[in-house]
């Protein structure tokens, strides 16, 4: 058991030398040999222990649990998100009315017991329309994010681990993709594929992987140097196994945080595109489209057009709060 401070060894050598040979002329030589070397009965290292209390390393589950306990906002956000997801996913179950049924005698009604958010210009229940419309917004928010993050992760892993020319090529391609803001690309693709959900889906799923790839790549670069990777390599573990079993799990916290930060962007882009008429097409609906459709009735029934927008706002804010809390807890480095 040696000291873990190499420099101390050398200085000590000098001191020891001096002890044997005498100190510098200005000081006296120590007299006597009172320093009887003792043999410790149990050789324990002198640790340069900064804290005697060694904190047990927490699993991700523990970290999440403690985060939710301490951060009420994050908890509320998570609940909000879950409520929204359930509400829209199971819209047929929960929606009070059929969103397509028209009631021309009851147009643009104010909120009432029957219609909690009132009715639109065809007498359709707004709340139900929003619940159905939310499916689109959430779907387009979440699924393309999963897709492009998967693409980005795979490419980032490859680029980071292989390095060299593979790395350069992948990063150049990423640069090209990152030059296109998703809105612009969606506009372009909609010319080719026509307006509609397919367009947005394609535009949002295959473009934004660049950012994720960059982040994963830098994580891989730093993890690559760790000893357990070298060890695994030296005993002949295959590359993809190393990537999968050793490196990927360490990227998970960062990926979780990135996910919660990317979904809001997608939701906003989709609603913007639908608002412009390039996204969801009637008769299907999304929150963005709802805002656009009800825009002209702003003065008569403001809630018709405000409600979907507020829904977007609440959902996006919830994701952002949750993302912030997760980032603070799981990956402080990402803060900058």
């Amino acid at each position: 058991m040696l000291f873990n401070n190499k420099k101390r060894n050398e200085a000590v050598d000098i001191l020891a030398d001096r002890i044997v040979a005498g100190f510098s002329p200005a000081q006296d030589r120590p007299k006597g040999t009172d320093w009887i070397p003792k043999r410790a009965t149990e050789p324990i290292r002198i640790e340069e222990a900064s804290e005697a209390l060694i904190a047990p390393s927490e699993t991700i589950k523990d970290q999440l649990a403690s985060m939710f306990k301490n951060n009420k906002v994050a908890l509320v956000s998570a609940i909000v998100i879950v409520v929204f997801i359930i509400g829209t996913l199971f819209a047929p179950l929960f929606a009070p009315c059929d969103p397509y049924v028209q009631d021309l005698g009851n147009r643009l009604a104010a909120p009432s017991i029957h219609h909690l958010l009132g009715t639109d210009n065809y007498g359709r229940d707004i709340l139900s329309r929003m619940m159905y419309g939310g499916r689109v917004s959430l779907l387009v928010g979440i699924v393309p994010t999963c897709i492009y993050m998967a693409i980005g992760t795979i490419l980032g892993l490859i680029a980071g681990y292989c390095g060299g020319i593979v790395d350069s090529i992948i990063m150049r391609v990423a640069d090209v993709f990152m030059a296109f803001p998703s809105m612009l690309l969606a506009i372009l693709i909609s010319y080719t594929l026509g307006a509609g959900m397919l367009t947005i889906f394609c535009a949002l799923s295959f473009v934004s992987w660049g950012g994720t790839a960059r982040v994963v790549r830098s994580e891989v670069l730093s993890l690559k140097e760790k000893e357990y990777v070298e060890a695994a390599n030296s005993i002949g573990v295959k590359t993809w196994v190393i990537l999968l079993k050793h490196i990927l799990p360490n990227c998970v916290p960062t990926l979780i945080v990135l996910f919660t930060m990317n979904v809001p962007g997608n939701i906003l882009t989709e609603s913007g595109l639908s608002f412009l008429g390039i996204g969801a097409q009637p008769p299907s609906t999304s929150w963005g489209l709802l805002v656009f459709q009800m825009k002209k009735y702003l003065s008569k029934s403001p809630i018709a057009t405000l409600a979907p927008g507020i829904a977007i706002l609440i959902l996006v804010v919830a994701f952002n709060f949750l993302g912030d809390a997760l980032r603070d807890k799981l990956d402080p480095q990402l803060k900058d």
Binding site: M1, L2, K7, R8, E10, A11, V12, D13, I14, L15, A16, D17, R18, I19, V20, F23, S24, Q27, D28, P30, K31, G32, D34, W35, P37, K38, R39, A40, T41, E42, P43, I44, R45, I46, E47, E48, A49, S50, E51, A52, L53
Partner: protein, 331 residues
């Protein structure tokens, strides 16, 4: 030595950290006296409280740390009673500090010349040109080659040893009465370390500046200090002149530290270590702080804390072994 003027004194300093897990008594009542031109060593392991002492003096404590008791006297004035403005006038001017990590202690976006000039311009009413002249002058003194050219250099263009020289220069440029050096050579190669220590020695003698040398390295103490305080878990365990301490370490902890240095003249199979670990400051042992690791621990050690007993002139120990009453009565 005892006819020199005392310029700096710490009396009964207590610094505590108010954490969620409890109150951590990082510095628990220490007394240090520094005379003019004297080099005082503060020795201890990590976590002993020595750096926190320096931070307390310079008022650089970060939350949740706070000085809760004691006095810090510079020329008789209590620094703890002063306003931040007054402290700012003293920092860098009458008391300077040299930090451990030269690689990160300088601002990367300003030239080293500007950073040193800044110290001068803050405290003295001189022109920019004059400040520049003085900065170049101090660069020369601390051994930076081509000082005029280096004035406009950025920190990243310099090696660790050079950067530490800049730090030393910056600390000395206003001719302070006291310099606190917190492990100034720990991050440096041992050959550079020797040079830096020599330099500090020279400058100190030339300007008659007092210095408090904080270190965990007994070799550094041997080379550069006149008087030594040994700290453990927030308390002073032993204090003596350097010669007396090396000749005759009295506290079992000091004894252990000395023994931990391997001797060139002997062959051993096991290196000596002090058994056990530095205690968690939240869960200190009831009696003497060192009792859990002490070979000479007695029953009384686990129940009461010893005081500092003066065994010979200028040599004090905090250990019941030297408490005449206890040893004689055999309690």
């Amino acid at each position: 030595m005892s006819d020199k003027k005392t310029i700096f004194q710490i009396r009964g300093l207590k610094t505590q950290f108010f954490t969620k897990k409890g109150i951590v008594p990082a510095v628990d009542g220490i007394d240090i006296t520094v005379k003019q031109g004297e080099a005082v060593g503060l020795v201890g392991e990590s976590g002993s409280g020595k750096s926190m002492t320096a931070m307390s003096v310079m008022q650089l404590l970060q939350k949740p740390g706070k000085v809760v008791d004691g006095e810090i006297l510079l020329d008789g004035e209590n620094l703890l009673d002063k306003s931040m403005k007054e402290i700012d006038e003293i920092r860098g001017n009458r008391i300077s500090m040299i930090f451990q990590e030269p690689m990160t202690s300088l601002n990367p976006v300003y030239t080293i010349g500007k950073q040193v000039s800044e110290a001068i311009l803050t405290h003295e009413n001189v022109s920019k040109e004059e400040a520049k002249e003085r900065a170049i002058d101090i660069f020369r003194k601390v051994g930076i080659p081509e000082p005029e050219k280096r004035y406009g250099a950025y920190p990243h263009q310099l090696s660790g040893g050079l950067r530490q020289r800049v730090m030393i220069g910056m600390a000395m440029v206003c001719n302070p009465e006291l310099i606190i050096a917190d492990e100034p050579t720990t991050a440096l190669d041992v050959t550079i370390e020797a040079q830096i220590l020599y330099l500090m020695n020279q400058l100190q003698k030339e300007k008659n500046t007092a210095i408090v040398m904080i270190t965990h390295n007994l070799g550094v103490v041997a080379q550069s200090c006149d008087y030594v305080y040994v700290m453990y878990a927030g308390k002073i365990m032993e204090e003596a002149s350097v010669k007396a301490l090396f000749k005759n370490p009295q506290h079992p902890y000091t004894f252990g530290l000395m023994n931990s240095i391997p001797k060139m003249t002997e062959t051993k199979e096991h290196l000596f270590t002090i058994r056990g670990m530095v205690p968690n400051l939240l869960h200190l042992p009831k009696g003497c702080r060192f009792c859990t690791r002490c070979d000479k621990a007695m029953k009384i050690c686990t129940e009461y804390q010893p005081e500092l007993y003066e065994t010979e002139e200028g040599h004090k120990v905090r250990c019941f072994l030297y408490d005449k009453e206890v040893m004689e009565s055999g309690k």
